[in-house]
Amino acid sequence: MTVWPEQRSLVADVEFDTVDMTINIGPQHPATHGVFRMVLTIDGELVVDCEPYIGYLHRGLEKLSENADYRQAMGWWDRTDYLAGMACEFTYCQAVEKLAGIDVPERAEYIRVMMTELSRINSHFLFLGAFGADVGSFGTSFIYAWRERERIYDLFEEVAGDRMFPTYFRIGGVTMDLPENFESRVRWLLGSIEQGLEDLDGLLTGNEIFVERCRGLNPMTTERAIALGITGPCLRATGLPWDLRKAEPYGIYDRMKFDIPTGREGDVFDRYFVRLSEMYQSVKIVEQCLSEMPKSGLILNPNLPKTLRIESGETYVRHEGTKGEYGIYAMARGGVKPYRMKLRSPSFCNLSALRELVVGNYVADAIIILGSLDIVLGEVDK
């Protein structure tokens, strides 16, 4: 169309023909917390489309488990949610115990719950630190969180002999008894954790910019969260107090007195805050375990067969993992190996909703939303 001089004033009304840009975030990117890739289509600073790609860390966990016996496979399940290895071991052991009908001594149950809760605190500390870094606080929150994580890892090392992948649980109990002066050490650790929580709370929640960035960002209704398969703190942030430790109690969680923190809006701030509050409840659970635990006793079921064979059966054991519902579908058809082991990993299911959550937000917010889902790639990619 020719533009005549007298029509030039009209040209300003014509919209510029802009082109959407595709940027590739990951697999090596500080915000993806591992090897995860998302392809964002952006219009200026706005995200108009998002396509997540996973599988960079796929190790064939399920196939490997089918080819090892029940005892051997456990080490691989540590490496799913590698920030809370003990919690994964708990689920795995209980899945096998359900199939084989094995009981666990009471003292071992207490130890298991205690270790699981400490793992949960550990994992949530990493979330707080990494989330602060995602929002942009230059590593200060990260280092604060790391101080407490180191102390928890030191305790794990003393108890199990390894920090990240302890393989401490056994089918029918735990490997070895607790070290001496364990109780006083844990009590000191819990005090330190609470101090660390207060520090992080002051640094992040007390920061105006942090609150302004997170509050009201990406709110979600309970119904939509359920339909998308979102569980764990992200679901509780929408206001639904659904926690498998209460809804379908397992282990000795029915004896524990703790609350389920919930949010209201389901926005990014609530997801952060639910996790922060949850850690305090975990501290309470560990304290109860310490005072109620039998001071001595068996830690491993003495009637275990030398080689575990399970004739048949199937089970779907689900626990409240650190990121949500951590479920294992296990099937046995005779022999010393599991016939099928399927992991329902909370990060996988939460991440599958990413596209819907991210589209329509700023690029900077997309990073925060991804951070607020708190994914662990070992769990997503299996």
Binding site: G136, Y144, E198, F210, R213, R264, V274, A364
Partner: protein
């Protein structure tokens, strides 16, 4: 024969020799300064984060900066295949040259700088705006989308914040009656201009953080989003040119700010104890500034781009305009200095009140947020 005084004449052979010697001194001082600013930043940030920072290289890690510099020079200079060659390779220098040109007119001690310019303040306004050219060149020439995003963010941010920055300095220039930085410093023998113009200082400090891409305004280089922004494709010596210009700009800005608002080399209550003390005063004032910048960096997260823009255009710009108008009325109608101090003080209180009000508007929703994790529910919105 040779007049080595602090002149502003352009002609004559010895004047040029003199200028070259002075520039050499400045360049060497700047290099040493930048090396120890990186070291200092690492140490200060480490202490804020309960770490030790560098300790291994030399006593207390003092040689760390030099080791880093040697390593960076030795690194391969990589140019991406799809980068625009000349734009890409010249961008670090285009970023660095304006910073060096700013350093040329700063009086570090009484009557000592490279050149004493009558239009010094104006010169700074003119030169600082050129910084953006190099950053845009890096962003567009790298052939990288993160760099493009970073460059565009930087352009939007720096051009926006240039306006309140310049206006805040203009309001000081209205009082001084001169644009010569040496004379501006000399005038502050009784009280520094921060007392007369606290609002201008607050606006200057905020805009300075933004111009330097420091937290909470580090949007163009956001590490967790666009992994470094415009310099993401650079390596080796060209990358270190960006670092050099960043830290040199920080130094130049803080020296400049301390001259305009704190009297630079001038003693607080007058008096003249020689150029050594004057240099120490200038540097002390600017280092205090720098530590404040680092403190902010370790504490606060990053703003989003729309929040950043609305803060500039809706709060800083109107306030600086109001201050200029108030100054104009007071000066034209022959008001006293205390009147300037009063109006600007009210303005500064207003700025703080606006910020706190924004915070308070939020915190009515979130009363008692800190420590609330001990209770069950997230506080009611």
């Amino acid at each position: 024969m040779v007049d080595l005084s602090f002149g502003d004449t352009l002609f004559g052979f010895w004047n040029w020799v003199d200028a070259i010697i002075r520039i050499l001194i400045i360049v060497i001082a700047m290099t040493v300064m930048v090396i120890y600013l990186t070291y200092g930043e690492r140490k200060v940030v480490a202490r804020f984060q309960q770490r030790l920072g560098p300790t291994r290289t030399g006593p207390a890690g003092l040689l760390q900066g030099i080791a880093d510099a040697v390593k960076l020079v030795g690194k391969e200079d990589i140019r991406p295949h799809n980068a625009d060659r000349w734009v890409f390779e010249f961008a670090p220098f285009a970023t660095f040259i304006p910073v060096l040109m700013t350093l040329v007119i700063l009086p570090f001690a009484k009557d000592w700088g490279v050149r004493n310019m009558t239009l010094g303040l104006f010169y700074v306004f003119a030169i600082l705006g050129l910084n953006i050219v190099g950053i845009m060149m890096a962003g567009l020439g790298s052939g990288n989308k993160f760099a493009l995003l970073g460059g565009i963010r930087a352009a939007a941010q720096m051009i926006s914040y240039e306006i309140p920055l310049v206006l805040s300095l203009l309001s000081v220039a209205m009082i001084t009656g001169t644009l010569n930085l040496n004379i501006i410093a000399e005038q502050q023998d009784r009280y520094p201009y921060i007392i007369l113009q606290p609002l201008a200082f607050l606006i200057f400090f905020t805009a300075m953080l933004s111009e330097l891409h420091r937290a909470p305004f580090d949007i163009p280089v956001a590490e967790s989003e666009i992994v470094g922004g415009y310099f993401v494709e650079y390596s080796g010596i060209r990358w270190s040119m960006f670092q050099l210009s960043e830290y040199a700009a920080m130094w130049a800005f803080t020296v400049f700010g301390s001259i305009v608002f704190f009297g630079g080399w001038q003693f607080p209550k007058g008096g003249d104890w020689g150029w050594g003390w004057q240099l120490a005063l200038t540097m002390g004032k600017s280092l205090t500034f720098i530590i404040a910048i680092m403190w902010v960096r370790t504490t606060v997260p990053r703003l989003r781009i729309d929040q950043l823009m609305s803060f500039c255009w809706k709060i800083l710009l109107p306030l600086s305009l109001v201050q200029i108008i108030a100054n104009a009325f007071i000066i034209v109608y022959g008001g006293e200095y205390w009147l300037l101090s009063l109006t600007s003080g009210i303005g500064a209180i207003a700025l703080v009140a606006i910020i706190i009000n924004r915070a308070f508007r939020r915190s009515t929703k979130t009363t008692g947020l800190v420590g609330a994790y001990r209770s069950l529910q997230v506080p009611a919105p």
